[in-house]
Amino acid sequence: MERRVLVDLVWYLLILGLVAIVAGFVGSLTGIGGGIVIIPVLIIFFNVPLIVAIGASVITILANSATTGSAYIRDHLTDLRIGMFLEIATVPGAIIGATLTVVLVQGGLAQALVIALGVLLVIIAISGFLRHHPPFVTEFHPDARSRRLGFRGDYHDAHLGHPIHYEAENTNSALGIMFGAGLVSGMFGIGSGVLKVFALDDALKLPIKVSTATSNFMIGVTACAGAGILLMAGYVNALIAAPMAIGATAGAFAGSLLLPGLASRTVRIAFLLVVLGLAIELIVRGVGGP
């Protein structure tokens, strides 16, 4: 009997690891991130409570971000100055978001959070379908803060074969969007890379490669802020989080060996369809009750 329980447990943990490998791989390949798949899968297929799933996801994101983020820093694609400056908005957002989730769950509102997560994932999936990368900006209008703090740079685009220059603008808007991204990240344990890229691409007008690298750089610190709250509040279950973190790291590493963020449109659409399906199932479950 005891041996059978052990075998079952080993299987569960192995399947969790495999799910994380796939989520990390496809998430890294599409640039969308794996967290938006991991939480619904844990809730729907493993009957894990929402807040425990969020706790496992933030640990997975931390591991994932360290893998891909370090590669981008090594290649000097990350704008360290802009990334570190914007963390002043994402970190308080994540702390408030994670605290809010703990309070809401303790207040018996976990089902409402499940519905909210489902709606959020629907929005993320739809925005992913509609999103087109903006063209390179050639005229720059940096604001006073951007000029003062040196939010500009150049990188050599290997694909285009020439250097790309950029100068950040709209830093106030970017700070506002980043606070929202941090809040969402802390509340639901997702990287909220989509929101971060909105701030970096659309508000600051950074080139896509710099914004993707800088977003990855920031995701780890934002997740760390939420993870700290969830861990100390007792909602990080290391035995569930560990196989997922290991799997996601392996998947993200494999994905980063191929062209990260540059997967074919078919892979991206298939991934977003999976997210959409999981989101709808979450909403149905949330409305139907536990």
């Binding site: 005891e2 041996r3 329980v5 079952d8 447990l9 080993v10 943990l13 493993f46 009957n47 409570p49 425990v52 931390l62 591991a63 971000s65 360290a66 370090s70 590669a71 820093i73 090594r74 290649d75 000097h76 694609l77 704008d79 360290l80 100055r81 570190m84 400056f85 963390e87 002043i88 970190v91 702390i95 994670a98 605290t99 303790q106 703090l149 040196g150 150049d154 990188y155 050599h156 250097p163 780890g220 610190v221 997740a223 760390c224 802020a225 700290g228 709250i229 969830l230 861990l231 100390m232 509040a233 007792g234 990080v236 290391a238 035995l239 569930i240 989080a241 560990a242 973190a245 290991i246």
Partner: protein, 135 residues
Amino acid sequence: METPPGRVHPDLPPPAYRDMTRILRVGLLISLAILSGGVIAFLVLTPSESFQELVASNPIVTYLNLYSLLSGLASGQVEAYLTLGVLVLLATPIARVATGCFFFYRNGEREIAAVTLLVAILLIVGLLVIGPLVR
């Protein structure tokens, strides 16, 4: 001086990029090694727990204060090592932020260094003050 493969002119000295890359990689590897060992040891030493029992109970919750953690580590408790693995993973981005603060300060960029220091303080306050408060 090593020529960076991406940027035409680096905005911070190359050691900043190198050290941050190393911190993230080493922190991740140490954390995953501890967590992997912890999971295997847990499966070997606690074979009677089912997955749903595992979800319902949180094996590391006992070790979330320094005294319990150190005693647990000294007495070889698997759950204490799992807690340590998670804490190392959390400490990795905090160490990365602290490294960034150091390099910005040394580069004479006081405003960004101050912002970065504030981020590090917020992370530590979240972990050590707000988390235990909402428990």
